[in-house]
Homo-oligomer: 417 residues x 2
Amino acid sequence: MLNKNLKSWVDIKPDSDFSIHNIPFGIYSDAEVKHHACSAIGEYIIDLFVLESADLLDINRSVFEEEYLNSFIGLGKPVTNLIRKKLIDILCDQNSILKKDEHFFKKVFKKQSAVKMLMPVKVGDYTDFYSSIDHATNIGTMIRDPKNALMPNWKHLPVGYHGRASSICVSGHSFYRPKGQQKPADSDNPVFGPTKLLDIELETAFIIGKQTQMGDSVSTEKADDYIFGMVLFNDWSARDIQTWEYVPLGPFLAKNFASTISPWIVTLEALEPFRVKGYEQDPKLLPYLQYSGQKNLDINLEVFLKPQNGRENKICASNYKYMYYTMEQQLTHHTVNGCNINIGDMMASGTISGPQPSEYGSMMELTWRGTKPIKLNDGTERKFVNDNDTIIIRGHCNKDGVRIGFGECIGTVLPTK
Amino acid sequence: MLNKNLKSWVDIKPDSDFSIHNIPFGIYSDAEVKHHACSAIGEYIIDLFVLESADLLDINRSVFEEEYLNSFIGLGKPVTNLIRKKLIDILCDQNSILKKDEHFFKKVFKKQSAVKMLMPVKVGDYTDFYSSIDHATNIGTMIRDPKNALMPNWKHLPVGYHGRASSICVSGHSFYRPKGQQKPADSDNPVFGPTKLLDIELETAFIIGKQTQMGDSVSTEKADDYIFGMVLFNDWSARDIQTWEYVPLGPFLAKNFASTISPWIVTLEALEPFRVKGYEQDPKLLPYLQYSGQKNLDINLEVFLKPQNGRENKICASNYKYMYYTMEQQLTHHTVNGCNINIGDMMASGTISGPQPSEYGSMMELTWRGTKPIKLNDGTERKFVNDNDTIIIRGHCNKDGVRIGFGECIGTVLPTK
């Protein structure tokens, strides 16, 4: 599926996330534009609303003028994939009006550094899974028993829970350190205050591209028809609040204060060439969760911590391929009971940890509950995230010299309000 | 605050939920109208869009033509309370054009039995609490240990979790019995099939009427400013799916297949006269959760089970006043970490059980896990809910001869699809 011969007339650096093989979708704003849909190539965004003033995509361009991509996505994959293909054609066509008409080029292309990316979709419902076996094993080992690290259900179904859609923010935001109840080990009663154990979770999320009705189930075979694309996801977590509140109904205030996503939705079609074999699932799953083919993805994921006025520190390098359950299995499980899904729903992976300590996707694991602090390049240490720290997640796929990526997922912690 | 002298010129039966003291808000549809906002009086709905063609409410009536009440609610309580007051005035005014102009009356008033009520709001995020001490104690006694029925956190915070907004349906719907994984006690491995233990949960929900920004917290004192009104809520639950899936991240597929609400939002202002003293909270709560004044509500709640072609059986009579935590405390807790809320968000109470066995708000409790089946008037028994059973929740307040109510919250279980 990878056509390595594709070559754009746009100058693209070899390490760009936005090669001609990517062509993701997003929403941008600048001094002139309140919100237009856009794609990306090299260091540019492509304003799809302005581009379509030249009737190059054969679509009613009003869909590119909306606040979110939901309506565009709702046109369905036959349309959105065709739009993406036409964009690729235009960007490879040496005779394209875009290449030849400098005035038009300047109207359509803007430097990514000169625009502000907005939330790409209006999220209806947000679900978070817990599907990395190394992460679940690490957490179970720390808070329970290394010999029974995984709960009995873990290898039979992709454990998941509902999260908060309202506080999902696009990259570049900042938020206040959350306050809440914590129960110190040496106290009979809870105390109240800012979380002392603010953590990150390195995740990705997929975005639903096709609606179902209540009672419908989506099979693993058909699941890809319902997945529009993926983003990077940081599931900020307050570990002390979580420990006290989460029994018996799961995480609540420990996670619903903020989540961060990368602004570009990388389509499932762009990711297809980077499919790899999935995790060997033993014991065998119930028939509805079984699947065939290569359904995992080789996506390199990195997390950086940048103190205020400091330099970036790479604190983790993981890979999506470490996921035990695939996105398709997650979606199938989510709908097997007839739960209906809507365009724009977001389903996150859960923390993606690899087997090596350098591949752990949360501070909790990286510092092993704070017992092994991370040394930063400015000489300071971190057990968890400090005020004014910025966390940056980056992710990209690389195969046979072809690279596509997600851009950045950046969030900054402000002191408690 | 209760003006018992209010008297409408509309003929209203003494046991009507829709007395002149109520004046709730909803959305209806019929052969002529796709969706209009409406209120209710006696056996009628009042079409607010048509009513405002006579300029009686002094508001841009386009807000009454929308699919949901969110924009109307977003006008703020100073406006929505004034509209409600004007409606009361019109309905009491013997010289009202509505009373005198029969043609206009017939355009504005429609029999409730002749229209279809729709979802009143577009729900952004949905949260479910677990705030009835009798319910939590019953469940803890059954699945854990009677001596440690309540988890250590229960009396320190209103335990809650995020639920699924997409499958909240308005009264009158039906849904398919959900399928999913269950783990029989005598088996090492899970099995797959329709739930055998389909349950109800008698709840109410409040609807957010005012937005906050991330980082904002709402105090118990200000909480009522953010609560527009209440509905009845049935949190359908598949107990066998729940038991297997819910550790460690809480209920997921056991509950996200369907929830049912009553169509009329009864405003907090209509409920004010029915405030009563809250539960004595011991141990004392952290300062942010403390409150003053009478913040509980005396709302009679009843649940009926109606087999296909059969008669109704009252299976439970409870009361909202049994809630340990108030709505205000729930909202304050929800936002204390800076979690932002939006107009239309729905926050449910959790199962509302009273201290007596006849007051238990779920089949799980009523039949004590199926060990004490309920005898129905057709001679059959129920441990849980059967296919084609209909569950009806009703709720009303009664004080000094004044009655207001919620109408009905009706859902029917169809055989697995």
